[in-house]
Subunit: 190 residues, 2 copies
C-alpha cells in the first residue's frame, strides 16, 4: 500500500502541518510507504492556463503536471490535508485539481458518458475549519462540501472516499482539544 | 452606480469572454461606469502565502491585494463571471477571494461574532458549466454552489446577491442556444 499525501498550508508551524506530521509518523510506524507533496513548499502553480490547454490538445502534458500524475498513478491511497477557506479548497490545492486531474488522466468522456479513470484508489480527506461544528452541520455546509469535493471531484474520477474528517474551530479550541484531535487521526481507516 | 466585473477564463475566445463583452457593452449602452478585472490577463497571483499573512499581521496589505480592495471599495455592484470547474471557482478566482477578501477588509470578528464589512454592495454571478442542467439541479450541486458561494462568500461579507445565473452545457449546445444565452444577459437585474 502506497500513500500519497497532498498537503496545502502556508505555515509550517500550523495545526495542518501537525496533522500532516502525525499522519506521516503513524503510517511509517506501520511500515507503510508515504510520499508527501507539500504544495506550498513545491511552489505549485495553481493557474490552469491557455498554455496548459494548448499542450493537452497536442497530447502533451506540462512537466509539473506530469510529475504529479505519475505520483498519483503510483499511489493506492491519496490523503488530502488542508484548511477549509471560504467553504472550499485553498486556491493552491484547487489549482492542483484544476491542472492535475485533467481529461484523459482523471476522467474521460466516452459514448456520451463520463468515465472515472482513477478507479481502485482510495481517498482520505482531513480538514480544519475556523468556524464551529454547528455552523457546518446545521446550515448545510458540511453536506455541501461532501457533495462538491467527495462526490464532485474524487468519486467523479472513480475513487473511493474512505473518510472525510473535519476538525472544527481549530484556532479557538484549547491545546488539549488539539492534542486529542491529533490522537483521533490514528483511528482513521487508512 | 459603479460596476466591477471580476472575470476568470484563460481563453479570450471563450463563451465566458463573450459573456463578459456582452455585460460590458450592455452596461455601457445604459451609460454605466464599468471596470473589468480580467484575472488571467492581470496574471493575478492566487496563492495566499505566509508573506501575505506576515504583512496582514503588521497591519500592511500587499500591493496587488490593496489595488483590488480599492476597486471593490469603489464599486456598488460586483459582477463575477467564470466557468464552474470541479463544482467551484477556477483556482485563480478562488485565490482572488482567499487573498483580497481579507479579515479587516471583507469581514471582521467582533464580540465573538462575524461582521460583514462589504454591506450595501450587490453581487451578480454568471457561471457556465460543462455538465447539463439536470445534473446540477437533481443531485444538489446547484444548491451546494449557491450555499457555498452566494452565502459562504458574498453574503458572509454582508453583500446582497441579486442574481446567480447558470448557463449549462455550454460546450455541447448549439450556436443558436449560445446566442440566446447572451441575449438573456440583458434581462438580468443589474
Amino acid at each position: 500500500m502506497k500513500y500519497l499525501i497532498i498537503y496545502a498550508h502556508p505555515n509550517p508551524k500550523s495545526f495542518n502541518a501537525a496533522i500532516k506530521e502525525q499522519v506521516v509518523s503513524y503510517l511509517k510506524s506501520k511500515g507503510k510507504e508515504v510520499v508527501v507533496r507539500d504544495l506550498y513548499q513545491l511552489g505549485f502553480n495553481p493557474t490552469l492556463s491557455g498554455n496548459d490547454f494548448a499542450q493537452f490538445l497536442q497530447g502533451q502534458i506540462p512537466l509539473d503536471i506530469k510529475k504529479e500524475q505519475e505520483l498519483i498513478g503510483e499511489a493506492d491511497t491519496l490523503i488530502i490535508i488542508h484548511p477549509i477557506w471560504w467553504f472550499n479548497l485553498p486556491a493552491i490545492l484547487k489549482g492542483y485539481i484544476d491542472r492535475v486531474f485533467s481529461h484523459g488522466f482523471a476522467y474521460k468522456f466516452a459514448d456520451g458518458e463520463i468515465k472515472g479513470l482513477l478507479t481502485g484508489k482510495n481517498v482520505i480527506i482531513i480538514n480544519t475549519t475556523g468556524g464551529p461544528q454547528e455552523n457546518y452541520e446545521n446550515f448545510g455546509y458540511k453536506d455541501a462540501l461532501k457533495l462538491t469535493i467527495c462526490n464532485g471531484i474524487f468519486a467523479f474520477c472513480g475513487m473511493s472516499v474512505k473518510s472525510h474528517k473535519f476538525f472544527y474551530a481549530v484556532p479557538t479550541v484549547s491545546n488539549d482539544a488539539r492534542t486529542k484531535m491529533l490522537e483521533e487521526i490514528k483511528a482513521l481507516d487508512f
